[in-house]
């Protein structure tokens, strides 16, 4: 129940939210540097914890609805409170997280502990005063967006207009207004008239960071469609179609499964987008549909293990990917608690490990290496000794600084660039 299922920094990076399989959301806040604790800058401590979703049961379909949080997306901050959207398979909720550091004292009709006073005992009239109290962080659900998805929600994305957002399930994408919970517009519907003809599903969707009319969605067949909401109300016809041509002679039983895109993310610049499939990460230029501009191999050595990865279902693992603030580096997870970063201009790639043994506080992370040939060097790991139960599916990069959050099953690791 404590398995982390999503990790997301807010727009400033001061807050980091995690969602888990048990429906809980834990928010961490970055400590401000103080004179008494100069080294504490950069540390994230728990700020708020709340139960976002509960398990439910759909009686009509005899389906259990998991409380697992699939995605969290922050809204940009507009006042003292913080807002985020969290979703499970069926329902999206808008949560308000606010601080309270004052308390009213000296009520006329109730005691300090809240009990009502006897009216005959009230002998004087007094004005309640605000007194400081210990900081309390409260999370309250402000909106519940329910009953709009027949299939399982895989993505939510806040629009750059800060008023609308989209939610995507396996076959449909809906557009919501943050203020309206009883109505949602369907903007993509790929459900075939006959379900026997079903060949692909939607795997991820995201709004463009600057153009509020543009969004993309990826499919289980390795394609990405870019849609423009100005062209029509229902965006079943794409504006752009991104697909890398496949060599037909290399096609195998596994081809389609490993081409399925598990995550799609626009670059901060809005010029590129990145997709993650089972073995690689690809960077696409939005102006070029026929192939990606960059391809990075995450763990190509797994290609010769596809049979066993299919049998233990690992081939269906959905890895996410992320950009750093300047779009110069991309990061994604792998197995054995390894995660990989790729520097786009230098083509330098690094493999790091998120585990207790290799991460002492303040110590530098040592790069790891997987041995792909027969001769194993010292400190290298062989492919056969990789632990496929230790998968890093969720990672996040601070929007402006080199601080990364890595979720390793039920542990959250925070790494930052060493500052001299």
């Amino acid at each position: 129940a404590d398995i982390i299922s999503t990790v997301e920094f807010n727009y400033t990076g001061d807050l980091l939210a995690t969602g888990d399989k048990g429906g809980r959301v834990v928010i961490f806040q970055r400590e401000q540097e103080t004179k008494s604790r100069p080294l504490s800058r950069g540390e994230y401590n728990v700020y708020s914890t709340f139960q976002s979703h509960e398990p439910e049961f759909d009686y009509l379909k005899s389906l259990e609805i998991e409380e697992k949080i699939n995605k969290i997306r922050w809204l940009p901050q507009q006042n003292a409170a913080h807002f985020l959207l969290s979703t499970n398979d069926k329902t999206i909720k808008l949560w308000k997280i606010s601080e309270r550091d004052k308390r009213a004292e000296g009520y006329n009709l109730k005691d300090e502990d809240g009990r009502l006073r006897e009216p005959c005992r009230v002998t004087e009239l007094r004005v309640p005063t605000l007194k400081p109290m210990d900081l309390m962080v409260e999370a309250s659900p402000r909106r519940t967006f329910a009953n709009a998805h027949t299939y399982h929600i895989n993505s939510i994305s806040v629009n750059s207009d800060y008023a609308t957002y989209l939610s995507a399930d396996d076959l449909r994408i809906n557009l919501w207004h943050l203020e309206v919970t009883n109505r949602s517009f369907n903007i993509v519907d790929i459900k075939p008239a006959n379900m026997e003809e079903l060949t692909e599903v939607i795997t991820a969707a995201e709004f463009h960071p600057h153009h509020c009319n543009v969004f993309v969605y990826s499919s289980s067949k390795g394609t990405i469609r870019l849609c423009d909401m100005r062209s029509s109300a229902l965006c079943d016809q794409h504006s752009k179609f991104f697909e890398e041509p496949e060599d037909p002679s290399s096609r195998s039983f596994f081809s389609e499964i490993i081409s399925s895109i598990s995550d799609v993310k626009f670059s901060h610049s809005g010029r590129y987008m990145m997709t993650r499939d089972y073995l690689s990460v690809k960077v696409w230029d939005l102006n070029m549909e026929n192939r990606p501009v960059e391809t990075y191999q995450v763990h190509e050595y797994l290609r010769s293990k596809l049979c066993s990865l299919y049998e233990n279902d690992c081939i269906f693992d959905k890895f996410e990917c992320c950009w750093n603030g300047s779009d110069s580096t991309i990061m994604t997870g792998s197995y054995n608690n390894f995660f990989r970063t790729f520097e786009r201009s230098t083509l330098r790639d690094t493999t790091l490990e998120a585990s207790r043994e290799s991460s002492k506080p303040r110590a530098i992370l040592k790069p790891r290496k997987v041995c792909t040939t027969g001769k194993r060097k010292k400190d290298e790991i062989t492919v056969d000794s990789l632990d496929f139960n230790k998968k890093i599916l969720h990672t996040a990069w601070h929007p402006t600084e080199n601080i990364i959050a890595v979720a390793a099953t039920n542990n959250l690791y925070l790494f930052q660039e060493k500052v001299n």
Binding site: L63, I65, D170, M195, T199, S220, S252, F253, S304, C307
Partner: protein, 112 residues
Amino acid sequence: ILLDVSLTVSLTVFQEMEDKVLSPEKAEEAKLKARYPHLGQKPGGSDFLRKRLQKGQKYFDSGDYNMAKAKMKNKQLPTAAPDKTEVTGDHIPTPQDLPQRKPSLVASKLAG
């Protein structure tokens, strides 16, 4: 003439060996087909997709489930948690009792 023919034969053999040696993915596919000969006869895509869309299916009576939930709240059963493998015949099953359905398609192909 004899020389030409033998040259062609050896070239063809080399081509076949290349195909087998250079594609780890195809080698893995051959391994899979050897273990599960009935796999892949339907288009692979739709099987996975249908399984994916059906995630969360539980096969028991939700009315019974709610009755059991209500009873448990009232009685605070002191007995140990029921054996997770034996759920029928003895008591009303709840979602927690049912063994996790292995999501792999491979198992179902073997059964059918």
